[in-house]
Amino acid sequence: MAEDLLRIEHLSVDYHVGAGTFRALTDVSLSMPAGRVVGIVGETGCGKSTLGHAIPRLLPQPPAQVRSGKVFFQGTDLLKLPKWRMPSVRGTGIGMIFQEPINSLNPAFRVGDQIAEAVQIRRLREHGRQPARKADVQGFDYSKREMPKAADVVTGPFVPPNLTETLKQRPPPISKDLQKEVLDFLHLVRINDPERIISLFPHELSGGMRQRIMIAMALSGKPSLLIADEPTSALDVTIQAQVLTLMKELMDEVSTSILFISHDLGVIAEMADDVGVMYAGHMVEFGPVAEIFESPRHPYTKSLIRSIPNKYKEDGVLPSLSGSVPNLSRLPNGCTFHPRCPMVRDVCRKDPEPPLTDLPPGPAGLVHRSACYFPEEVASLP
């Protein structure tokens, strides 16, 4: 297969809180070809957010510390890049949408200016240091756009960061064609009266509106990879549905690959092509969305699917998983899931942990992996 857009190899992240060490991520591997939507699902505290933040190196260090692993984005290991090169990857390479639209927009600046800033950064990168000319401004449909090559993004000529450079990079006051592009992006996220919206402050907008702005802002960098970290979890159910519909429509319009993080299996089933299931900092199962839901190969995935409220379950009892996620500073030996596993054997209680291994290909011939010693027996669980 060609070069993956994103390939994570054996990533482990710790949090040092006081004298305690919490293993937020242990040996997580993941590969993501361009153009696909990969969902990451798991309970609160399973490390899915840490994973999303670790890719563009947003984790606060300290307390977070990457213990080992590699994060290849378009062929470059981001974890090896010097810190000052990271901004060149963000925005145009990787974009991100956060959970709480209340907090993710800067309360002190007008919405239009915040989006314009992102557009401006992309333009400066697209056109070198030349100011954008009118002819270069395209519509918002960038599905035909050529993917930036890795070399363009991260291995450009070395320019030492200095003050004049920083000042040059400062976006000039919002110009007419810049404003037009900002309006285009607001149209893209189905905002009807963008001319009014751009002059408002975030607190003057509703939660759903803010999240649309956030999506517009992330897309305005035209990133190759979009990380959506629980983008709808903080919204009301009706608004949530609207935003999800919008995102689904946008996926057809713009050819951005998406890493979609959610605790909601229903949302993941709706949005993703592939699904990674996480438990206590481990990736326990990875596979195509249809196979994961129809024939899960890890007992944890099975129990997660079983606990989805379903109107067809007539007995009125909602099965729930007994026990709770283990303390990440004292992970159990062997398989981390064994204390809660209904089919636990002696081998599961001993180190080493079961690795994430490839299963025989299913009918579609796509990769399906599980970190259980007995993937075939999962089907027989109730």
Binding site: H53, P56, L58, P60, P62, K83, W84, P87, S88, V89, R90, G91, T92, I94, G95, M96, F98, Q99, E100, N103, S104, L105, N106, P107, A108, F109, E117, A118, I121, R122, R125, P161, T166, Q169, R170, F201, H203, M214, M217, A218, G221
Partner: protein, 340 residues
């Protein structure tokens, strides 16, 4: 919406009206505290060898022989009509003295605020950005030192230790410097208006030490406030959003994070107004800076009633206005605030 210009005008007007009872209270308290428990100031002024008749004449001249309530009513009448009493030591009306001395103090305070903003705030940002690392510890030691060093010690060390070593005398200009015509009573501005560059340099040299002494303790407060509000701001999602746009760390810190952290830092302005004004008394008396602080110092230490009351009332007005300015600034910086 509550944020239009007319809303702001109404807000300020309302606040100014609310100030009136406070200021009346200030006048009452100052007047009675300085008059009730007091030894006769005429005795002090006239000297130990003065004849009783001279003291009586002095008392009569300044109305001290009348009952206290009458004195108070007379004083209030004068205050309203712009007559804040006559200063027996400086031989000028108190209000004239204030008019003459306040600009120099304003100059000193503005220079101090400038130092506070230019040094104190970036130090706070640096400390917050390197939270827990060596730069953070150094900055914390710096602001704790500022807090634990009384202004009079900082002033004395700077004036006598540094100033005399560098050959910078007290006052606003050195005595050898050619005199500049006083227009504004602000040394640097006057020198600039006169087009006299060497006098400007001389004025700046004389300004920097007292301004530093005055800023020392307040710089610590500003640094501490900036650091703690930056520490609250930096983990917020919008800082991550700014990073994820591809912005460099400098822009993320100083545009996106500091812009929000400054909202809480403006409250320092209200807090420091009181210490700043108090500090001028100490600093100006040490540096012989020809401003309100020096005037207050001599009025207080020479038992000059009218001068003391005038100065205390005037300083209280300054503090109250500074607090109002801080409130308005807070609202200007935070678009979520409505003028109410």
């Amino acid at each position: 919406m509550g944020r239009s210009r007319s809303d702001l005008v109404v807000f300020v007007a309302k606040r100014l009206v609310q100030l009136i009872p406070v200021l009346i209270g200030v006048i009452v308290i100052t007047f009675f505290f300085t008059h009730i428990a007091v030894a006769n100031p005429c005795v002090a002024w006239a000297g130990p060898k003065a004849s009783p008749s001279a003291i009586t004449a002095c008392e009569h001249l300044y109305g001290l022989d009348k009952p206290l309530p009458v004195q108070f009513v007379n004083y209030l009448k004068g205050l309203v009509s712009g007559d804040w009493g006559y200063d027996p030591l400086y031989q000028v009306p108190v209000l004239t003295a204030i008019e003459q001395y306040f600009p120099a103090t304003l100059e000193l305070v503005l220079a101090s605020i400038f130092l506070m903003v230019v040094v104190g705030i970036p130090l706070g940002v640096v400390a917050a950005a390197s939270n827990g690392r060596i730069a953070d510890h150094l900055v914390r030691i710096f602001y704790l030192s500022g807090w634990a060093t009384p202004t009079y010690i900082a002033g004395a060390v700077l004036a006598i230790g540094v100033g005399s070593t560098l050959g910078i005398s007290g006052g606003a200009f050195s005595t050898l410097s050619s005199p500049v015509r006083t227009l504004t009573h602000m040394s640097v501005v006057d020198a600039l208006l006169a087009g006299n560059l060497s006098a400007t340099g001389d004025a700046l040299a004389h300004l920097i030490l007292p301004a530093t002494a005055l800023a020392f303790i307040n710089m610590g407060i500003a640094t501490r406030m900036t650091r703690s509000s930056m520490l609250e701001t930096l983990p917020l999602d919008f800082v991550k959003t700014a990073r994820m746009k591809g912005l460099g760390e400098f822009v993320v810190l100083y545009k996106h994070a500091l812009r929000n952290a400054l909202i809480t830092t403006t409250t320092v302005l209200g807090i420091t107004a009181g210490t700043m004004v108090s500090g001028t008394v100490v600093v100006e008396s040490i540096f012989r800076w020809p401003g309100m602080g020096l005037y207050a110092f001599s009025a207080i230490t020479d038992y000059d009633f009218n001068g003391t009351i005038g100065v205390v009332i005037f300083f209280a007005i300054v503090v109250v206005v500074a607090n109002l300015v801080a409130d308005v600034l807070y609202g200007v910086l935070d678009p979520r605030v409505e003028w109410r």
